[in-house]
């Protein structure tokens, strides 16, 4: 018992900074949307989009499949929360409360050691953005969304909403009505970053919603690794994350998009991510989903050019009260395209993990190469693990295989480790970390360490 209590107390994610926000709006009305737009001093065409999206949100229905979203009452969600801070470029200038939270999460430390640039968002606004001087000189843009609208309007208009249309689904409509914060990244032709860029999203105000929009453009022959971290402290009210990520990968370009999600257990995570890949380009999704009460995450990759590739490596860990419905969608729309999927999930303490995929091989995807593998680990008999993959294949000249397995930690493995001196719980923890290793090794070391810590915290939940 003591062990578990100690872990919760020292759970750094659960720090609640004093709510010093200087503005909060609740509910979703035209008035609220106009107010948000005015505060940001947006051009009128953006306000038009917001109002159109608002209408669509009320017209569209919840999905007829997946976890039940009836819990969500939009009237009770704080749709916009402005933190008591302006956008700063200097870490020292950020207000203490906010800075302390991020300091404890290790953000600036990580920047000093292994990142090219960091963005930090607190509730609805970015509070910090910094990019290495050298990269700015090369033409790399890494700025917050609001600034992008004002500073780079042509570039912005060229790509905004081109990957995710306004009527994609109900929660994208919501997103386009309320979007605030997020990053705009542009990597010019041929520029290859050798250290990753990172954005960290922190939801602090209780009952708040986060609707950040991330837009990343990697031009031909360029390369970028981007890391996204998300967390929120645990409250009793429901928090909502309906963010959106639009990614564009140019010809022969490379983008690795890594996410560690550790939203608190009162979070509804309905994020939408889409990526369009051109000829010879490659998108790599690396995802670790640990938090939130309900998650529905299906990053979509459209392989639009010959030789385009999508690689997906992901792990979900659902514990008590969690319903993580995740997977991916891929459309192979050109010859010699490739898809490699390695998805793992762990269910425990009544948690529900569902893997849901949608693979569309179009008639022109000749010589396409697809290999999907899903592994699920059940740690007890009260949890659930469901695998619901869907494939629609309309080209004969392809190589396609899909395998999935479900099982428990093998008794033989546990016995072997116990014969080397580990007790049963230690043996299980080591095996589970080994199970997650293909994902943790894709993150920079701090995140890998963090991921292992999260796994241990999840496992410890049953002790005592």
């Amino acid at each position: 018992m003591a062990k578990t209590q100690v872990s919760i107390d020292t759970n750094i994610y659960n720090i609640k900074a004093k709510d010093e926000s200087i503005l909060k709006t609740y509910g979703l009305t035209e008035k609220v949307v106009k107010e948000i737009s005015k505060l940001k001093d947006e051009p009128s065409w953006i306000l038009d989009i917001r109002l159109k999206a608002l209408k669509l949100f009320y017209e569209m229905d919840n999905p007829t499949w997946g976890p039940d979203l009836k819990l969500l009452d939009i009237e009770r969600i704080a749709t916009y929360v402005k933190p008591n801070s302006n956008m700063e470029r200097n870490w020292e200038d950020i207000p203490t409360e906010i800075k302390t939270t991020f300091d404890r999460l290790g953000i600036p430390e990580a920047e000093k050691k292994s990142l090219s640039g960091v963005g930090a968002q607190f509730d609805s606004e970015m509070v910090y953005h910094n990019l290495e001087e050298e990269l700015s000189k090369k033409g790399v843009i890494y700025t917050n969304f609001d600034e992008a609208i004002h500073k780079y309007p042509e570039l912005f208009k060229k790509y905004f909403m081109k990957a995710v249309p306004i009527n994609d689904h109900k929660y994208i409509a919501l997103h386009y009505a309320l979007f605030s914060g997020g990053s705009f990244i542009y990597i010019p032709k041929g520029v290859k970053l050798d250290m990753p860029l990172q954005s960290y999203f922190r939801l602090n105000a209780p009952g708040a919603g986060q609707f950040e929009h991330t837009l990343i453009i990697v031009e031909d022959d360029a390369s970028l690794e981007f890391i996204e971290g998300c967390s929120a402290p645990g409250y009793n009210e429901l928090n909502l994350h309906a963010g959106c990520v639009e990614l564009f990968v140019g010809e022969n370009a490379y983008l690795r998009f890594s996410t560690i999600e550790n939203w608190s257990r009162n979070m509804l995570n309905l994020n939408t991510k889409k990526c369009i890949v051109s000829k010879g380009g490659k998108i790599e999704w690396i995802t670790g989903s640990f938090g939130s009460k309900i998650s529905m995450l299906y990053p979509l990759s459209i392989l639009n050019g010959e030789g385009a590739t999508c690689e997906y490596t992901g792990i979900s860990f659902a514990g008590n009260g969690q319903n993580l419905d995740t997977g991916l969608k891929v459309i192979l729309n050109a010859p010699k395209t490739n898809l490699f999927v390695n998805s793992k999930s762990i269910s425990k303490d009544g948690g529900i993990c569902t893997f849901r995929s949608n693979v569309d091989v179009k008639p022109n995807a000749s010589k396409a190469n697809l290999a999907l593998s899903c592994e699920s680990l059940m740690l007890d008999s009260i949890s659930r693990s469901d695998t619901i993959p869907f494939n629609d294949i309309r080209c004969d000249d392809i190589t396609f295989s899909h395998e999935a397995t479900i099982g428990k930690i093998s008794d033989d493995m546990i016995f072997y480790l116990m014969s080397r001196g580990l007790d049963e719980e230690e043996a299980k923890a080591l095996i589970v970390r080994g199970f997650a290793e293909p994902i943790s090794k894709s993150f920079p070391i701090e995140y890998a360490v963090e991921m292992n810590r999260l796994i241990n915290l999840e496992l410890e939940g049953t002790i005592g």
Binding site: P389, A404, I406, G407
Partner: protein, 331 residues
């Protein structure tokens, strides 16, 4: 008239169009039916005034055969269909019985066939059920196979599905016995503009049971296939095994292959696996055979026929030849 059939229990996005199948059918009315034969067992035959199956078609008239298998023997039921047949075969196999049952359907004309076979196995019984459909090319068939198994029983169901240009198949296996084993082997060939829709479900409820679903199919021309397979480990099915395997051979670039191999799991100590492979005939195999003097076409036929064997291991020799000849015709 529009029908929505073969509805899936596990649902996904509507635009995948795999949750169920929408068909426009012109089903003729039913008259009496007498063109059948049963050998190897006593049976009860009667007309029923209501018929329903998991596919979703219902009728107010059906031809019923009830069979109780009380001793080991080989049973053959055969139907020759003229126009439309709605049939319902109920088989109850008592404890400790070993039996091989073959149900065969043929037709010379283009017909409608709506069928339901329900089989219950008693403890320790071992049954092979061959369901062979050799109806004409442009017929329409709707086959629902259901079974439930008691402790230690073993059922192998082989569905050999040739003929028909609209085929809707449903399999529902209920493993309600400890150490019960159900295996489902299905082979089919579709060509031209044929449509085949499959919804196969094995539910494992008790410990140490095993459920297998193996499907091997050929798609030619502009045919369209939808496959849903589900293995459901219900709480209580400790130490059970459930595996599904779907192999699809594509013989044309215009065919459409949709698959949804589902694994549902609510129990910890189980082994579940599914595999799907889709593509052209293995080039290595073709090359090997051609290097031994076979033409490409001959080699293809041989490979396809060998894959069909998953469902033909326990079938009578004459029927085996009939099936192989039909396959030859189709490919």
């Amino acid at each position: 008239m529009e029908y929505i059939l073969n509805k899936s229990i596990t649902r996904t996005t509507e635009h995948s169009k795999i949750n169920d199948i929408h068909l426009d059918l012109d089903i003729p009315s039913i008259n009496g039916f007498k063109n059948f034969k049963v050998s190897g067992v006593d049976y009860k035959e009667y007309d029923s005034n209501s018929f329903e199956s998991r596919i979703g078609l219902s009728f107010d008239k059906s031809h019923n055969i009830d069979i109780e298998v009380i001793k080991d023997n080989n049973i053959l039921i055969s139907y020759d269909i003229d126009d439309i047949l709605v049939d319902n075969v109920n088989i109850k196999v008592l404890d400790n019985i070993n039996t091989n049952i073959t149900i065969k359907y043929t037709s010379l004309k283009d017909i409608y066939h709506i069928s339901k076979v329900n089989i219950e196995l008693g403890k320790n019984s071992k049954v092979v059920l061959n369901y062979v459909s050799l109806i004409s090319k442009n017929s329409k068939s709707f086959i629902a196979l259901e079974n439930s198994l008691l402790d230690n029983s073993n059922l192998e169901t082989n569905l050999i599905d040739l003929g028909g240009n609209i085929k809707v198949n449903n399999y529902y296996s209920n493993l309600t016995g400890e150490k019960a084993i159900s295996t489902f082997n299905n082979i089919y060939i579709v060509s031209d503009n044929d449509i085949i829709d499959m919804n196969y479900y094995t539910s494992i409820l008790k410990p140490k049971a095993e459920g297998y679903i193996n499907v091997s199919g050929i798609l030619k021309d502009k045919s369209h296939k939808s496959f849903k397979g589900t293995i459901d480990f219900v709480k209580g099915s400790t130490k059970s095994i459930g595996k599904e395997l779907e192999r699809v051979t594509l013989l044309s670039e215009d065919s459409i292959s949709k698959s949804m191999p589902i694994l549902l799991c609510g129990e910890e100590d189980v082994v579940g696996a599914h595999g799907v492979s889709t593509g052209k005939i293995d080039k290595e195999k073709l090359f090997y055979m051609m290097s031994r003097g076979m033409s490409k076409k001959e080699a293809e036929k041989l490979i396809i026929k060998s894959e069909a064997n998953i469902a033909l291991k326990n079938i009578d020799e004459d029927l085996y030849n009939e099936v192989i000849n039909k396959i030859d015709l189709y490919i």
